[in-house]
Point group: C2
Chain length 424, copies 2
């Protein structure tokens, strides 16, 4: 495909958006059985055409290496045999989820006899802008389809061959199930300009979900006229209260920091009540060091652990995504909550305590998409919270706050049944 001018690129993107809008109307009325058939068909084709998908992926990997991408990036890009199975299994898992579309809630009868309810419906057309990992193409397509939406995918240029191969496979599966092929479309050009045009199609697109680095997300938020569900970063805290079970506090902190340090729900700052700091910090230091974690402390922490480095002001806002942990001694829970309000990112905040009133107050007053008592921050995840598959974690409050499961890809409309009611 050759798109030499902005105007022909614009024509292409607008056409994709219009086709998606049309497909969304059909998708909204499709039965769960039909959607599940499509998901199973795509899963089958992914396994059957693994060699074709992996050959396309090899081209992207070759390009990536030639362009000097880091080994970690190349790793994220690679579709292994296990990756093929994971995509197919993921689709079958989504097929097994309860379909939220059409369900009624909040039913009531008004004094005039009008019967009212809210009916869950698909959002319509969802645009997903993502980087690097080509499995997002399949995971996102599957969840959007199951929720009855049409989806427009725009992956990173570094995965364009993989994504186009996956798009072909998805299209075939959708056709096999008799659904409109425009229900899943991939933007076939790697230009950044395509994203900017997409963000202006508010007439046809209901929601944009950007998945990637903070730069990508800020760009999308600044340009989009379409609502955006986003997540900038996870600066997660654990506060160890003076009544905490210290063994539990050590376990939870180490798990939250070190079990998988490169993810958004990993712990970045540990806040410790002053009255237990002298007992707790040496225990935490030993366990963290064993787990390969390097500490950076406030002045009071350094007084107890003189062997660690001093934390700079920017450490309190850092999302390390690495085996580094900032440690601060606080006067009390109030002080901890003030630190979280100033430096937290509304992602995940934990308290370790045995105090009834403090547990209640922390849960009520801390503003984060998950507030958790006596457990690891790593539980902020769609699967762990019981939502099934997820589309990322929203740290903005409109529509979804926290992991976005299938329900967050739908909305509700009001429906009403009468027998001639008029307003007076």
């Amino acid at each position: 495909m050759s798109l030499e001018t902005t105007s022909s690129l614009e024509t292409c993107i607008v056409q994709i958006a219009q086709d998606a809008r049309k497909a969304a109307r059909t998708m909204a009325a499709v039965s769960s059985n039909r959607k599940n058939q499509a998901l199973a068909a795509i899963a089958g084709l992914i396994r059957k055409k693994a060699a074709f998908i992996q050959a396309a992926n090899a081209k992207d990997i070759e390009h990536a290496k030639a362009n000097g991408l880091s080994p970690a990036m190349v790793d994220r890009l690679t579709i292994t045999d296990k990756g093929i199975d994971a995509m197919a299994d993921g689709l079958l898992f989504v097929a097994g989820l309860t379909d939220p579309v059409g369900s009624l809630s909040d039913a009531s009868v008004r004094p005039n006899g009008l019967e009212i309810a809210r009916m869950r419906i698909p959002l319509g057309v969802i645009g997903i802008i993502y980087e690097s990992r080509p499995n997002v193409t399949v995971d996102a397509a599957g969840l959007c389809l199951k929720a009855g939406n049409a989806v427009i995918l725009r992956g990173g240029s570094e995965a364009i061959h993989s994504n186009m191969a996956l798009a072909g496979v998805i299209e075939e599966g959708i056709k096999d199930a008799g659904l409109p092929v425009a229900a899943v479309q991939i933007i076939p050009v790697p230009d950044r300009a395509a994203v900017d045009i997409l963000l202006k199609q508010e007439e046809y697109i209901d929601l944009i979900i950007p998945r990637g680095g903070e730069g990508l997300i800020r760009h999308v938020v600044a340009l989009s006229r379409i609502p955006v569900l986003k997540h900038y970063k996870g600066v997660c805290h654990a506060y160890v209260d003076d009544t905490a079970d210290l063994g539990m506090a050590v376990n939870i902190s180490v798990n939250a920091k070190a079990q998988r340090p490169g993810v958004c729900n990993a712990l970045e700052t540990l806040l410790v009540h002053a009255s237990i700091a002298e007992t707790f910090l040496p225990l935490a230091y030993d366990a963290m060091t064993k787990a390969g974690v390097i500490l950076r402390g406030c002045e009071k922490t350094l007084a107890i652990l003189p062997q660690i480095a001093s934390a700079a002001p920017e450490d309190w806002d850092a999302e390390y995504l690495d085996l580094i942990l900032a440690v601060k001694v606080v006067k009390n829970m109030e002080d901890a909550m003030a630190h979280i309000a100033a430096h937290g990112s509304n992602h995940t905040e934990a308290i370790i305590t045995q105090d009834y009133n403090n547990s209640r107050r922390f849960v009520r007053e801390v503003d984060a998409s998950l507030v958790i008592v006596n457990a690891s921050t790593r539980f902020n995840d769609g699967g762990e919270l019981g939502l099934g598959a997820e589309m990322g974690i929203s740290t903005s409050k409109l529509h979804a706050y926290g992991p976005m499961g299938i329900k967050e890809l739908t909305t509700t409309k009001f429906v009403a049944w009468g027998n001639g009611q008029i307003r007076s």
Copy 2:
């Protein structure tokens, strides 16, 4: 106040936004009793200081008349004695609503023993940009306060004296109840530039609600980096099916069109099944004419009602807000639904039918914030649907679709209670 440069205006707006963010943290933890006390205090002060409020209002009215505003606009601007009572009564009504903040839902226990729920919380800081009617200042402040939010209000320049007087009264009531005065702030300058600066404060503001004409709303959507809940227009349809009770269809259509033609849930286009058009249209014509409604018809309508004017293509997209009705004969319900999909505004769509399957299909497949069977489109209203007070009707699907009640001014976070759980 004199704000001569953009940079001093920016400083002022940023300060307001920061103060609101701080107040929001306090408001989130305030008890329902305290919030209700504040609402009652403001209601009392509005009645007590009616003369002061109306004197300020008189200045705005004088200005408006001098600037040649239409009598309808002057009427919307005027705070009558009845208007004073309506504002005070509205606040007491909101005080009586159940407080959604802190309530738990979707509770479950995970296999590892972690207890999960969603807790309803305030959105945080809400910015409301509105035109003309000064009662919005009080209504919006009351509903936002009850939901535990801080609110920044930016009314039209034509109501600046009235709004500042009301702001003073609200501030006094808030102080009396011991709440932070920055929980309700009014931007004290009439510059349009203030709005543009406000829309960039995504760090401090969680939601923008514009209330006014389509021009204002499009401006806000184009500039805002903050999520917007909006409603462009209401092009509402009623479809009269071939099995409809024709007397009921006439009653509902006339009520939907003529009971209050200037509002967004009024009927704008009537769609009539071809097989009943010859019987139904003359009945509808007589009743509409009696109600002062002028019809504009498609070709097939004109063949039955030659006395009416012909509809131009733009009539099918018109929000008349007047005693004018477009009428189109359609082949069947499918044809009606296609017309609604092409010309509707996702606001309110009605079917009049006695057919079970058609009623089910219309409700399921038509995409509008309210889909209603055998009743007037005029029921798309927070009060009529049982939500209590409302903040307008959203026709975009994210977060709220339809009337926005107190619940729509809140969101949910996840909360979890454990006893040492970690991830493996």
